[in-house]
């Protein structure tokens, strides 16, 4: 028998698990549009977790962080990417090198590796249970798998953005009291990434008339 986590720990863990599940859903989904929507849902979950932590563990700075990430990651970034997608008139993500079922199994292995690696670190946190940290590392691992197996620019961009969600989740566990200015700097880093990826998508689409990266393997003179 294992010790039963408290209601607070159970709730936060359940939200963190949902963050990981949305990451897996991004890996499975075939439509670019729904991938971006899933990213918005994932960001919403991370913001909700920040609010729960702020309310229960009394870390008022997290309210500001939650509000900022809600505005940026749930509204602005998905809106920008969806707008870019509308211009590109591509609907379906480049099919990966693996079938969906194998993708999920590989991602499960990678996620599990991250999960158990964290267990060996013996990190303990004041505000969140360690399980959430393991889940955050799993999110990072799965988002790497998403970027590696999918061969289109949008999946890779969304994979990169959701990697940031994983890092935010981890920072909630390890350093919830991190000075707000640093967290905000992280968020603006994300904005830079959005601009760069948006630019990349535009340029790639205008040159190859597709969002798939498969066209890049050909040598061009």
């Amino acid at each position: 028998m294992r010790p039963v986590p408290s209601i607070y720990a159970g709730t936060t863990n359940a939200i963190a698990v949902l963050v990981l599940l949305t990451e897996f859903a991004m890996l499975r989904t075939a439509l670019l549009r729904s991938q971006v929507r899933l990213y918005a849902v994932q960001s919403l979950l991370v913001s909700a977790l920040a609010v729960v932590v702020a309310a229960v563990r009394d870390v008022p700075e997290l309210y500001a962080l939650a509000a900022l990430s809600l505005a940026l990651k749930v509204v602005v970034v998905p809106w920008l990417v969806l707008r870019l997608l509308r211009d590109a008139d591509a609907e379906i993500a480049g099919s990966g090198t693996l079938s969906v079922a194998s993708e999920v199994l590989v991602a499960l292995l990678v996620g599990g590796l991250g999960f158990f690696a964290v267990d060996q670190l013996h990190v303990s946190s004041r505000v969140l249970p360690t399980t959430a940290l393991g889940l955050a590392v799993a999110v990072v691992g799965v988002s790497f798998v998403l970027m590696i197996v999918r061969s289109d620019v949008v999946s890779q961009a969304v994979g990169f953005f959701s990697l940031e969600n994983g890092v935010s989740l981890a920072s909630l566990v390890v350093a919830a009291g991190l000075p707000l200015i640093l967290e905000v700097a992280f968020l603006f880093d994300l904005l830079v990434a959005v601009v760069v990826f948006g630019f990349l998508m535009r340029v790639h689409h205008s040159r190859t008339a597709t969002l798939s990266t498969a066209a890049l393997t050909r040598l061009r003179g």
Binding site: V17, R28, L108, F115, F116, T131
Partner: protein, 319 residues
Amino acid sequence: MSGMPVAAVQALQPLTVLVAAPGVSGFIATAEARMQGRRGPRVLQPYYDLAKLFRKESLAPVGASAVFLAAPVLAMVCYLTVPLLIPVLTSYGLPLGYMGDILGGGIILSLASFAVAVGAAETGSPYAQLGSSRSKTFAAITEPVMLFVVFAVALVTGTDLPYAMAATVRSGADQILRPSHLLAAAALFLVILYETGRIPVEAHRSTNEFGMIEEARSFEYSGPYFALLTWGSAMKQLILYTILINVFLAPWGLSSTRDASDVVLAVVLLVAKALVIGLVVAVIDNSFAKLRLFKITEFVAAAFLLAVLAVFTLYLGGG
């Protein structure tokens, strides 16, 4: 303790499932039809169907051996045995309830479906054989999901008795909110959708043979034998719903005494809870499309993911 004799309560468990199962199927069919704007069959229609089938003659294909005729009976016996092992009406373990654990119940359920598959393979009908081959192929990939659900239960309770899991869930909100419990319950629900032949996997009562998995196996049966098979699959559905409800989702309202009033209340509540699950299943049936046969592995991979994550979160920090 006063009230009904233990044996009577024990006998009531399979009897409840036996009597209520066609009604639950009928309710789902009616609810589904209403959602599509159709009138649909009566809720009691499956009972009339069974009564009619039991009066009809039955034929066996030429060359089919006794196995063909024994299969529906064996399946029915299995479906009558499983309710003895799981908490259908009582929150305390009945004497025969400790004959087998969750794995024991799982083996008996698989034995029933194996018997039906062998019976179908006895016939010369290509569709029946297709169904039995498909159902065994996909059973092999849903089995790991069930195993991981059982592992999660075993890690939570230290045993794999369904009564122990139900008692753990009842013990407090902290047990319900832990992610391992939520994930294991969700994985079990997906497996139940597969096992009962519901929408993402198979269109229930459809007439398209190429999409059939479980349904195709009863093609060559007629009369009382066909009645036993349909009744059996309705019972399997209610048994699986009972496991989901009384072990994972809502193990409240079970009788904790042997008083006749408590036991009757437990019967009513069980049926009511099963109808709620049935309503959810009807909504799913109406809102998703059937998956292509080769996409079923993706559906099962999702269930597997949930079940494995349940075990992972348990290992780290007692999730």
